[in-house]
Protein backbone atom coordinates (compact mmCIF):
# COMPACT_ATOMS: atom_id res chain seq x y z
CA UNK A 1 0.00 0.00 0.00
CA UNK A 2 1.32 3.46 -0.90
CA UNK A 3 1.85 5.91 1.93
CA UNK A 4 -0.82 8.59 2.36
CA UNK A 5 -0.16 12.26 1.65
CA UNK A 6 1.44 14.28 4.42
CA UNK A 7 0.05 17.63 5.46
CA UNK A 8 2.48 19.62 3.33
CA UNK A 9 1.43 17.71 0.22
CA UNK A 10 -2.25 18.11 1.07
CA UNK A 11 -1.89 21.86 1.35
CA UNK A 12 0.22 22.04 -1.80
CA UNK A 13 -2.53 20.19 -3.63
CA UNK A 14 -4.83 23.16 -3.04
CA UNK A 15 -2.47 25.75 -4.53
CA UNK A 16 -3.57 25.22 -8.16
CA UNK A 17 -7.10 26.25 -7.15
CA UNK A 18 -5.77 29.54 -5.81
CA UNK A 19 -3.70 30.07 -8.93
CA UNK A 20 -6.78 29.43 -11.08
CA UNK A 21 -8.80 31.93 -9.05
CA UNK A 22 -6.11 34.56 -9.60
CA UNK A 23 -5.75 33.72 -13.28
CA UNK A 24 -9.46 33.78 -14.07
CA UNK A 25 -10.02 36.85 -11.92
CA UNK A 26 -7.32 38.75 -13.77
CA UNK A 27 -8.37 37.63 -17.23
CA UNK A 28 -11.49 39.82 -17.53
CA UNK A 29 -11.42 43.58 -17.80
CA UNK A 30 -15.10 43.89 -16.85
CA UNK A 31 -15.97 41.70 -13.88
CA UNK A 32 -19.67 42.46 -14.18
CA UNK A 33 -20.12 40.77 -17.57
CA UNK A 34 -22.07 37.54 -17.55
CA UNK A 35 -19.16 35.54 -18.93
CA UNK A 36 -16.79 36.93 -16.30
CA UNK A 37 -19.26 36.36 -13.48
CA UNK A 38 -19.90 32.79 -14.52
CA UNK A 39 -16.23 31.96 -14.82
CA UNK A 40 -15.22 33.65 -11.59
CA UNK A 41 -18.16 32.24 -9.60
CA UNK A 42 -17.06 28.78 -10.65
CA UNK A 43 -13.55 29.38 -9.31
CA UNK A 44 -14.94 30.81 -6.08
CA UNK A 45 -16.87 27.56 -5.53
CA UNK A 46 -13.75 25.49 -6.22
CA UNK A 47 -11.67 27.51 -3.75
CA UNK A 48 -14.32 27.23 -1.05
CA UNK A 49 -14.40 23.47 -1.50
CA UNK A 50 -10.61 23.33 -1.45
CA UNK A 51 -10.33 25.33 1.78
CA UNK A 52 -13.00 23.27 3.52
CA UNK A 53 -11.58 19.93 2.38
CA UNK A 54 -7.99 20.81 3.16
CA UNK A 55 -9.00 22.00 6.61
CA UNK A 56 -10.85 18.72 7.24
CA UNK A 57 -7.76 16.71 6.27
CA UNK A 58 -5.51 18.80 8.51
CA UNK A 59 -7.93 18.42 11.44
CA UNK A 60 -7.82 14.63 11.02
CA UNK A 61 -4.02 14.63 10.82
CA UNK A 62 -3.66 16.97 13.80
CA UNK A 63 -5.48 14.47 16.02
CA UNK A 64 -2.82 11.87 15.21
CA UNK A 65 0.20 14.19 15.33
CA UNK A 66 3.22 12.99 17.27
CA UNK A 67 4.26 16.30 18.77
CA UNK A 68 3.03 19.79 19.56
CA UNK A 69 5.59 21.16 17.10
CA UNK A 70 3.98 19.09 14.37
CA UNK A 71 0.51 20.29 15.39
CA UNK A 72 1.63 23.92 15.37
CA UNK A 73 3.31 23.53 11.98
CA UNK A 74 0.21 21.93 10.45
CA UNK A 75 -1.97 24.81 11.52
CA UNK A 76 0.67 27.38 10.57
CA UNK A 77 0.81 25.96 7.03
CA UNK A 78 -2.98 25.74 6.79
CA UNK A 79 -3.24 29.32 8.03
CA UNK A 80 -0.74 30.40 5.36
CA UNK A 81 -2.86 28.67 2.72
CA UNK A 82 -5.88 30.64 3.94
CA UNK A 83 -3.82 33.82 3.93
CA UNK A 84 -2.86 33.24 0.31
CA UNK A 85 -6.53 32.87 -0.59
CA UNK A 86 -7.39 36.02 1.34
CA UNK A 87 -4.81 38.07 -0.52
CA UNK A 88 -6.19 36.97 -3.88
CA UNK A 89 -9.79 37.53 -2.82
CA UNK A 90 -9.01 40.95 -1.37
CA UNK A 91 -7.81 42.07 -4.78
CA UNK A 92 -10.76 40.67 -6.68
CA UNK A 93 -13.89 40.78 -4.52
CA UNK A 94 -14.73 44.35 -5.50
CA UNK A 95 -14.17 43.60 -9.17
CA UNK A 96 -16.63 40.69 -8.97
CA UNK A 97 -19.27 41.99 -6.54
CA UNK A 98 -21.94 39.37 -7.23
CA UNK A 99 -19.89 36.20 -7.42
CA UNK A 100 -19.66 35.19 -3.78
CA UNK A 101 -16.11 36.45 -3.39
CA UNK A 102 -16.91 38.72 -0.45
CA UNK A 103 -18.70 35.89 1.33
CA UNK A 104 -15.81 33.54 0.63
CA UNK A 105 -13.38 36.15 1.96
CA UNK A 106 -15.27 36.24 5.26
CA UNK A 107 -15.40 32.45 5.43
CA UNK A 108 -11.69 32.01 4.72
CA UNK A 109 -10.87 34.71 7.26
CA UNK A 110 -12.78 32.74 9.90
CA UNK A 111 -10.92 29.58 8.90
CA UNK A 112 -7.62 31.46 9.11
CA UNK A 113 -8.48 32.60 12.63
CA UNK A 114 -9.41 29.02 13.56
CA UNK A 115 -6.00 27.88 12.32
CA UNK A 116 -4.29 30.62 14.31
CA UNK A 117 -6.17 29.59 17.45
CA UNK A 118 -5.06 25.98 17.07
CA UNK A 119 -1.46 26.91 16.32
CA UNK A 120 -1.33 29.24 19.31
CA UNK A 121 -2.87 26.65 21.62
CA UNK A 122 -0.26 24.08 20.61
CA UNK A 123 2.57 26.56 21.17
CA UNK A 124 1.16 27.60 24.53
CA UNK A 125 0.91 23.96 25.61
CA UNK A 126 4.49 23.34 24.50
CA UNK A 127 5.72 26.31 26.50
CA UNK A 128 3.74 25.30 29.58
CA UNK A 129 5.18 21.81 29.48
CA UNK A 130 8.60 23.33 30.19
CA UNK A 131 7.42 25.04 33.39
CA UNK A 132 7.15 23.38 36.78
CA UNK A 133 3.75 21.90 37.47
CA UNK A 134 2.71 20.38 40.81
CA UNK A 135 2.13 16.65 40.94
CA UNK A 136 -1.30 15.38 41.86
CA UNK A 137 -3.30 18.16 40.22
CA UNK A 138 -4.04 16.22 37.06
CA UNK A 139 -4.50 12.48 36.62
CA UNK A 140 -1.34 10.78 35.40
CA UNK A 141 -1.33 8.72 32.24
CA UNK A 142 0.44 5.42 32.56
Amino acid sequence: MKPSLNYEELIEAGQPRLSALQRVGSSFLDGSSSAASAAFSREVCFVEASVRQTYEHIARLARRADSLDEVANMWRRMGAFCESALQILAGLKDKYPDCGAAELYDLVLDYKLACDDRQNRALEEKECLTTDFPKGVLPELS
Binding site: A59, R60, R63, V137, L141
Partner: protein
Protein backbone atom coordinates in the same frame (compact mmCIF):
# COMPACT_ATOMS: atom_id res chain seq x y z
CA UNK B 1 -5.55 1.20 37.99
CA UNK B 2 -8.44 1.59 35.53
CA UNK B 3 -8.18 0.37 31.94
CA UNK B 4 -7.75 3.90 30.56
CA UNK B 5 -4.37 4.12 32.29
CA UNK B 6 -5.17 7.07 34.56
CA UNK B 7 -4.62 7.58 38.25
CA UNK B 8 -6.68 10.10 40.22
CA UNK B 9 -5.55 13.69 40.83
CA UNK B 10 -7.35 16.87 41.83
CA UNK B 11 -9.04 16.57 38.46
CA UNK B 12 -10.84 13.26 38.37
CA UNK B 13 -10.72 10.68 35.60
CA UNK B 14 -14.38 11.31 34.88
CA UNK B 15 -13.74 15.04 34.55
CA UNK B 16 -10.81 14.45 32.24
CA UNK B 17 -12.84 12.11 30.04
CA UNK B 18 -15.60 14.72 29.84
CA UNK B 19 -13.13 17.48 29.02
CA UNK B 20 -11.39 15.35 26.41
CA UNK B 21 -14.71 14.68 24.68
CA UNK B 22 -15.43 18.42 24.55
CA UNK B 23 -11.86 19.19 23.44
CA UNK B 24 -12.15 16.69 20.60
CA UNK B 25 -15.37 18.30 19.39
CA UNK B 26 -13.81 21.71 18.87
CA UNK B 27 -10.07 21.22 18.44
CA UNK B 28 -10.47 18.55 15.76
CA UNK B 29 -13.83 19.64 14.39
CA UNK B 30 -14.00 19.14 10.63
CA UNK B 31 -15.92 22.42 10.46
CA UNK B 32 -14.39 24.83 12.98
CA UNK B 33 -17.30 27.25 12.50
CA UNK B 34 -20.02 24.71 13.31
CA UNK B 35 -22.38 25.37 16.18
CA UNK B 36 -21.30 22.12 17.80
CA UNK B 37 -17.65 23.17 17.78
CA UNK B 38 -18.46 26.58 19.22
CA UNK B 39 -20.67 25.12 21.93
CA UNK B 40 -18.10 22.48 22.83
CA UNK B 41 -15.35 25.09 23.15
CA UNK B 42 -17.51 27.32 25.33
CA UNK B 43 -18.45 24.38 27.59
CA UNK B 44 -14.84 23.22 27.77
CA UNK B 45 -13.62 26.65 28.84
CA UNK B 46 -16.44 26.99 31.34
CA UNK B 47 -15.76 23.56 32.86
CA UNK B 48 -12.01 24.17 33.11
CA UNK B 49 -12.65 27.53 34.78
CA UNK B 50 -15.09 25.94 37.23
CA UNK B 51 -12.76 23.09 38.13
CA UNK B 52 -9.89 25.50 38.62
CA UNK B 53 -11.87 27.85 40.85
CA UNK B 54 -13.56 25.12 42.87
CA UNK B 55 -10.87 22.48 43.23
CA UNK B 56 -7.46 23.81 42.25
CA UNK B 57 -7.13 27.41 43.37
CA UNK B 58 -8.06 26.69 47.02
CA UNK B 59 -5.32 24.04 47.23
CA UNK B 60 -2.79 25.55 44.83
CA UNK B 61 -3.16 29.34 44.99
CA UNK B 62 0.22 29.84 43.32
CA UNK B 63 -0.79 27.94 40.17
CA UNK B 64 -1.89 30.19 37.29
CA UNK B 65 -5.07 29.48 35.40
CA UNK B 66 -3.35 29.86 32.01
CA UNK B 67 -0.83 27.15 32.81
CA UNK B 68 -3.50 24.90 34.30
CA UNK B 69 -5.73 25.26 31.23
CA UNK B 70 -2.84 24.57 28.85
CA UNK B 71 -1.90 21.46 30.84
CA UNK B 72 -5.49 20.24 30.76
CA UNK B 73 -5.66 20.72 26.99
CA UNK B 74 -2.41 18.84 26.56
CA UNK B 75 -3.62 15.99 28.75
CA UNK B 76 -6.78 15.87 26.66
CA UNK B 77 -4.64 15.42 23.52
CA UNK B 78 -2.73 12.58 25.12
CA UNK B 79 -5.92 11.02 26.46
CA UNK B 80 -7.52 11.11 23.00
CA UNK B 81 -4.50 9.46 21.42
CA UNK B 82 -4.73 6.66 23.98
CA UNK B 83 -8.53 6.51 23.84
CA UNK B 84 -9.58 7.40 20.29
CA UNK B 85 -13.22 8.48 19.97
Amino acid sequence: MPDDGLSEGCVTRAELAELAELFDRFEFALDPLSRDAEEAEARFNSRVQFIFEEHIRPRRPQLSFVIFRARVRNLCRVFLKKNPP
